[in-house]
Symmetry: D2
């Protein structure tokens, strides 16, 4: 009888899944839920990009196409993940920020990290031929990115994170610009250039660039000097000048203390859907601007409020 | 004087990085080190692949090209990460296993998960045109994968994990094969097919396939029935038949109890380097074989020992 | 020769500690650092106190001596841990709160939890004979407490935690008071009393107490109705009446939004030492007051600021 | 009407618990489940015991009463927590070990740590007057203990942990014995004694004790030399002498490799209850024996198997 075949056909026990399913319980042990009411920063970094830049002949100290590819991939991520409120990219690293009220994937860290990192990678590989047209195609080992999640409880912490990255950008770029100018135009080798810069402060490097090579660092491209800031572009808000004055006097920024602890507002389903649509309609902007001073935040209140602004006409 | 320009040129405070660097301390709070001496399983899953299969017209119940693309991406991952000892893929999910002695990235979970997931994604996107030649190219939203890390303390736990996944493969594939046969050849719609299968056990589904459609499930492709097992291919080891006999009698597998708790052996640098080279030389195999019974493990002792086997001539 | 004895004297390998010390590395895997800039709540709960209350004949619904012993133990904890800013006790549970700027034990969770829990236990056992004089002495099984740590990023979250516990106190005490009155004075058995209360709201329970037994719940002891709030007692601050008016109108509390995100101020060593001394000098108060409305917080600004107030004369 | 009183009686909102209960969700974020199938070690340490030993005049280098009080408290913990399989105490620290199959409190770390630590503290304070009779009573600051949980995947790891602690005991005790002998009998001050011991190895210290003071360290009390091992006392098992021979030859211990990966056996409720009763009947032993060599483990197989042995008559 035909049926008898099935009995040993596969010798797979027929309903043994229960026997092995206990292994699922081991998954609970990787702690994973990010603390509610904290800003979530996912930062990804290129893996082994030193080799990559050599293999594909990236320009030094900055390769414009490579940075624009990073930015294009980041924009791709923003379009697929409407919960993102802010991004910041320098060199081969990118930070993606979810609002403190965000509940995507129930705030599970592994899911948030891998979703951001693989979506970024997916766009990066997909767009590579566009940005490196005329170059030999990608071959293994392929570009990849590692990532991590960090929580920041307050707006002050979040802004300090952004400031930290932008200061890093400034310091690294000033160093690299001077270093490579000494090599490319000054004829030094790497060791000599490093030696020349040893112990110098920012003013010294500006001086070397200006006196020895006639370069005013101030005129360098903001893409290189300030990095890339990614956000949804609504209409900018006018800011009363007094605030700006105060800042000029070295006053502490205060933007962060106003809305930090607003009670958590849960939107109705309709409101949430409307909100989502407005976000989806907004274009994703990439700008090379200062994020350390208040101005950036005051004029784009939707970033910290997490509420869509007024769509541009 | 030229220098005076620099003073406010950028109005970036000149050495303020220290002021913001405290934010780094927040990174320590995501617990991340995976327990030493445990097997590490990184499992990735396609995100929103239901939509993807619709968008690109994947064949039902199994799309061979799609599965082969997954396998090719997995092989790419194995070639870039010599620490991997085993992989297993079904549908849009893939498991990657690091040996319990592995110390890659100091066992930091976020780094391991994102490296595996983005390397896989990178190869997947890169190889897509090869496997889907003649189809319209990829457009956003792009394929992406989420991932997680799970630790298993013993070989028994690890093998049970593999068995769990392979049993899942079997159950899902038998269901899907019958479901789609009822639709594609039986003319039922999805609701009717689901209704027909409601409450059936494996034997019933085999019967439907055989009696109504003349299909012997046993003859279906092992790629679909057993999933894909990835490992480094050294020369297989002969296994004494008695062991096999014992298994036929339903005896418990014992392979796992032999080498489980061998003292941790730290290789000398030279030995480790030699080991690494042998691994790099080994081809990466993708086979569709049973991993539930002992045979698979006994004939490939290098998987559980973590030591390179004898290279094939 | 005498020395030869030592060779096998102990047969302990003489310097083998290095061989085993690798086990220390396993300790890194219990994630433990609590996120900086978050309020830390350590809540402990009596283990098996149902049996304990039976064994030692605690009065129902509330045993004053038992609650006063809990409070005395909490005061003992406050005196030994000057970093604590607030405590709250009901029944057999106690919450201890460290300021968000607190860096005690580098914010390691296990150390914070166990230190609070064992210091509390130590005082509890030590003081038991004082509070239960004339009763038979403690015998095993001994009272013990389990504990946990929870982080709250904002003052609003922290105050909501306190409100949650005090509302719980109110709900439980109203229920218990009515339940035990029905039994002790109404002659019902437990099942009948439970049945009588099934489906009742607060107003119903008040009515039962008042109409059937002449008890105005409002006149019950605040120790039972409000629980016990522990803090360091400095001079209360006068609060402008307008705030109070606003609250009467049901306005949202605002105290939390003012100082929530003040930049982290690091005290000089001298200042920190001075601060510590003032805290040590302050008496530890236990009061049975409302912590839901603003008044409590406005008049004791040192709790949220974390800075010692003005010592009482 | 009487009822109207209740309306504002308390001005507590009547059913607001829902409003605040969201704070419970923050508790999920302290990762807490210990990995299944791993040995759990809870180690507690006396806090500030240096001051305590001075305050209560503990004898140097070892105070027998203080150690016996630690042991008595540990026995109290064993009697209240039948899941414990092994304990080890030296100085003011104690390790408590749960079997890898233990599921107490669903393996939640915070609950396990605090329960062990507070139960220990409770017995310690309770028994203090018994062990320090004739001394002034305890006064604040009170003895307290911090604690931590560590997971070990294999028997080898667990035994190495025990060996590590016992080797530490040996090293510390030899040092302390020599140090205090130099002071108490040699008339040196602390600085001179420290100087005298600087750079010495174990053999040197043995020599100092023997030549200068006629002390054979070998004859010191095992309580001091080996620490205290706590376990449930069933009938010892006879061990074939060959094993012992092998060890004498420096052979690796093998006891750990035999039962390490036995499949997880889930007992029936009746069997589990029977098991529990046998454990409760067993006396709790405190012995000062070697736990580094195999003999201890081979003769007490119930420790690693987790199954009650044969009760002594």
């Amino acid at each position: 009888m035909a049926n008898s075949k099935y009995a040993h056909q596969d010798s797979l026990p027929l309903q043994p899944s229960v026997r092995y399913e206990y292994v699922k319980s081991f998954e609970r042990c990787q702690p994973d839920i990010l603390l509610p009411n904290t800003w979530i920063v996912i930062r990804i970094d290129g893996r082994g990009f030193h080799k990559l830049t050599a293999k594909y002949g990236f320009e030094k100290p900055n390769d414009r196409r490579a940075l624009e590819l990073m930015n294009a991939a980041a924009v791709g991520v923003f379009k697929e993940l409407p919960d993102l409120v802010l991004g910041y990219g320098i060199s081969d690293e990118y930070s993606f920020i979810f609002h403190k009220d965000c509940n995507l994937f129930e705030r599970r860290a592994a899911k948030l990290i891998t979703t951001v990192a693989t979506t970024f990678t997916s766009h990066y590989i997909h767009l590579w031929p566009t940005y490196f047209a005329g170059k030999p195609p990608l071959t293994p080992p392929m570009p990849s990115f590692d990532g991590r999640a960090v929580m920041y409880p307050s707006v002050r912490n979040l802004r300090d994170y952004m400031s930290w990255r932008q200061v890093d950008c400034h310091i690294n770029n000033l160093y690299n610009t001077t270093f490579w100018t000494l090599i490319q135009r000054g004829g030094l080798d790497a060791a000599a250039a490093e030696q020349r810069l040893s112990g110098t402060v920012a003013a010294d490097k500006n001086e070397i660039l200006f006196k020895d090579f006639g370069i005013n660092y101030n005129n360098e491209d903001d893409l290189f000097k300030k990095g890339s800031v990614v956000f949804r572009a609504y209409e900018l808000v006018d800011v009363v000048p007094t605030t700006t004055e105060k800042q000029k006097d070295g006053g502490e920024a205060r933007v962060d203390e106003e809305d930090d602890d607003a009670a958590v507002v849960v939107l109705s389903k309709t409101a949430a859907e409307k909100e989502r649509k407005r976000r989806a309609k907004a274009t994703v902007a990439v700008e090379h601007v200062d994020v350390i001073r208040d101005d950036f935040w005051l004029r784009r209140p939707w970033i910290l409020s997490g509420r869509a602004g007024k769509l541009k006409e």
